[in-house]
């Protein structure tokens, strides 16, 4: 029933954590097939293989880059998507309600899920993790939505795919509102930070700027940001599920 896609481990801490996760999954009674991407057996191949074997739940065990790649690979299918972070990460907490690996593993057993939509950039690059654009100080940007245009100079821009595309301008890192509002009720936002929501928007800059997701360069400006129509079923904690 559960197919686990583990990120390749690179250090003793990661090996130890993965061993702990496997032990916990066994004790919870939800251990399933486990695989690790390798040259010739990429994430897309492994996800397709899991679906062909009729696994109903595919779990990404790793960091935000793996989570983003598995989410994208799962989009054509109806399987339920789960996440176990190897280490804490606020962007994962935004998605599933926790960034603690033990809690995330326990959530898998309960299998509560909510629908999420992937964001797309120029129709080809997809993201479930926030997309980041570091606009240099000498570069101007323009965000054009259906109803209004926002312009500014040299600020970091973060885009989160949620019910709408949530845009934060002026502070790199996590978006404190939206889903995280419930997790960080004492979050304060300075007057230099802007927050908007769009169903779709275009981002242009006075010269090319790279858009990264989970630290990986995806596209360069100009970029058309859209929400995918198809929804993924993401396993989440109590309170975030429908």
């Amino acid at each position: 029933m559960y197919y686990y896609l583990f990120e390749a481990q690179h250090g003793p801490k990661e090996y130890e954590r993965v061993a702990q996760i496997k032990e916990l999954l066994s004790s919870l009674g939800i251990a399933g097939e486990m695989a690790t991407p390798a040259p010739g057996h990429g994430v897309e191949d492994l996800v397709a293989s899991a679906i062909a074997k009729r696994y109903s739940t595919v779990i990404a065990v790793g960091g935000i880059e793996l989570v983003n790649r598995v989410a994208h690979a799962l989009e054509p299918y109806d399987a339920v998507f789960g996440i176990i972070p190897i280490f804490d990460h606020p962007d994962i907490a935004r998605l599933i309600g926790t960034s603690d690996w033990k809690t995330a593993a326990e959530q898998l057993k309960r299998r509560r899920w909510r629908p999420i939509r992937l964001g797309s950039m120029n129709g080809s690059a997809f993201f479930v993790m926030p997309a980041h654009v570091e606009v240099p100080t000498d570069v101007s940007y323009e965000i054009t939505g259906p109803d209004f245009v926002v312009t500014g100079l040299g600020q970091p821009i973060t885009v989160v795919a949620a019910e709408q595309l949530e845009v934060q301008i002026g502070e790199s890192g996590i978006v404190k509102r939206g889903f995280l509002k419930s997790l960080f009720t004492d979050a304060t936002v300075s007057t230099s930070v802007s927050e908007f929501r769009f169903d779709k928007f275009d981002l242009t800059c006075s010269r090319e700027v790279t858009v990264k997701v989970a630290g990986v360069p995806m596209v360069v400006t100009p970029v058309q940001f859209r929400l995918q129509d198809k929804e993924l079923k993401l396993i989440v904690g109590k309170g975030l599920s429908e």
Binding site: V150, G152, L153, Q155, K181, V189, T191
Partner: protein, 126 residues
């Protein structure tokens, strides 16, 4: 269940042109050229400059507004704010130091506000 309305924030370093609408609160610290409307609260911060009409349930002005303001419940003009435009509201508060150039209209108890709510007129000028 409908999603909880979320805040929209226009930061001090950005300029927005067009029609800014939100079910939830809107906080403006930068420049807006166009109309602003919310089903909830609009806060015009000290550094904000808004050129265009504002419509909301409540409006709190600390910065500059060049345009009319319509608020079903309440408009508060804070010290140091500058408002050039007409005000329509059920309850108006003008703090010392606020600059207001325009007309104010407060519908009586039997009159309907533009958004359809009946309010008892009340003015506070400190």
């Amino acid at each position: 269940m409908p999603a909880e309305p979320t805040d929209t924030i226009v930061g001090v370093n950005v300029e927005l042109k067009g029609s800014l609408k939100n079910r939830g609160p809107i906080h403006i610290h930068g420049t807006v050229i166009g109309d602003v409307s919310s089903d909830s609260l609009v806060v015009i911060g000290e550094t904000a400059v808004v050129t265009g009409p504002i419509t909301a349930r409540q409006v709190d002005v600390q910065g500059q507004v060049n345009g009319s303001i319509t608020a079903e419940e309440q408009i508060e003009l804070q010290p140091k704010c500058v408002v050039k435009g007409d005000l329509i509201t059920g309850r108006l508060s003008i703090k010392p130091g606020a600059i207001f150039i325009g007309k104010s209209q407060m519908p009586g108890p039997d009159e309907e506000l533009p958004a359809g709510e009946k309010k008892k007129p009340r003015v506070e000028i400190e």
